[in-house]
Symmetry: C2
Subunit: 330 residues, 2 copies
Amino acid sequence: MANRQIVLDQHPQGPLSPEHFRLTEVERPCPGDGEVLLKARYFSVDAGMRARMQGGTYLAPLTPGQVIPGVGLAEVVESRAAVLRPGDLVIAPMGWQEYAALPAEGVSRPPSLTPETHLLSVFGVPGLTAYFGMLECGQPNPGETVVVSAAAGAVGSIVSQIAKLKGCRVVGVAGGPDKVAWLTGELGLDAAVDYKSPEFMGQLAAAVPKGIDLYFDNVGGEVFEACLAQMGSLGRIVCCGSVSQYDRDAPGPGPRGVPRLFVTKQLTMRGFVVYAFEDRYAEALAELQAWVASGKIKVQEEVIDGLENLPKALVSVLRGKSRGKWMVRV
Amino acid sequence: MANRQIVLDQHPQGPLSPEHFRLTEVERPCPGDGEVLLKARYFSVDAGMRARMQGGTYLAPLTPGQVIPGVGLAEVVESRAAVLRPGDLVIAPMGWQEYAALPAEGVSRPPSLTPETHLLSVFGVPGLTAYFGMLECGQPNPGETVVVSAAAGAVGSIVSQIAKLKGCRVVGVAGGPDKVAWLTGELGLDAAVDYKSPEFMGQLAAAVPKGIDLYFDNVGGEVFEACLAQMGSLGRIVCCGSVSQYDRDAPGPGPRGVPRLFVTKQLTMRGFVVYAFEDRYAEALAELQAWVASGKIKVQEEVIDGLENLPKALVSVLRGKSRGKWMVRV
């Protein structure tokens, strides 16, 4: 029986496009002892996947012909492991394909929360990343000025709302007037600034008259540099991602002012990965669930249909076309 | 009566040279009410003074004709303030001149420690900077791999020795074979690497086989970038200065890998200024004094004679010619 896959056709030189991928069809795999056969339902579309094509992340770089590694929400259709039964839902490193046979210990059971798309957004890696990134790494205090870059993104939109919940003055940075309007309108941020505008630097400065106490960085590059210049004394920076640097052959130079301004402004910066907080996911999910249920956190998702549309969706996310969490339904 | 001064003649474009300064002679000032007339004994020669000619530090930029602001060890020769008497020693923002009239509250009494040159090195700002930078910001643990840049400098040489005292494996980065030999020989570091060598990257990697736990940065730029690449997971960086960026019109781009590697390696970085620890200087001085007395910290100083030699001395320090603390005796 058939199993459609999307593989890397060639390494991108410069910006990624759908031509760097290829759709193939192989035999559906058979699970071995201790393995489960999984059928994909939804794939998460993550800008960070592009970074893996450069190498230099904490994961091995991709090679042409390889199935694109991607995480999905999947259903167990056949089990040769005692812990999982047909019909069980799992979050699994499926790769971009309809079916995968994986060791049962390599997949995880999502929490029993609905709708199931939320398992890839607010109740999944983006939500947990936002939760621990803002609360544990950021330690926001009421009244502080918080700036969030990629504020309309899967992580940034939740980060921004958590900071609002904690009583901060929250300024979002995003690309384009639509996102900016959405951030101050729908999400209720105190201000939002368009980094694509020629007036960006001045608008950012005007939005943070007392300086930035906490900058939550999802992008690196020029927006990082602009925010660094606006940091207040003793400010903190949380590093969560560098999406501005992913869609290119290799990362560019670092932001001007590093490390000089860290000294003069006595800044602290901390990078994190969500997996460091794995033993506390349950506590985070309970709180996130309550916030979503009470409407304190609004969840923005976009579901695109068809495995074959994964490359196009990833390219759109990299070009900054997405708002909230994008996923593909198989 | 005369008062010789060194003033800025013209703003340096590119590397600083003695021609950017001018020696002038003015009338010796008279102290007003609450002021003291000070006679300079020693001037501290600090690479950071070049940064002030760029602007963009926490102090105002210099303008041509202005006396070069510099800190010195001085003697009170006339007092119109109750708290100070002729003959008292003070640390004061003298500016590069033989005499200055300053408000008594703008100067500070140094601790009663000898020799008096140590008041500008190990018992002064460099020593206190090293102490709080390494112990408070760095939090070194026995067995950790610590890398110190500008390790042969006024701050770096003390930082390195404190890290050794705390049981760390200490690797110094410095320019040239003489400094490297001095670091491993005289100062007893575990290894030292010459950043001017074409083999620098490989030698650094070889010197830190387990990765860097703590990087104490005095330089920024390419050495920062090289060390960032060698940071271990959960590593810490302390930012103390950016001497590689001072002797130019404007700071260059930041180190490659910022902020991307902060995420993947879960790094923390903290910049500091020593003045943040002012209320704890006494405690630090007591410990530094004991370490110096017992020979656990070796103090390296170079004293150059003559006010007129200050510009040349500063240029030498900026070119990396100094070892330990340089000062000028007036």
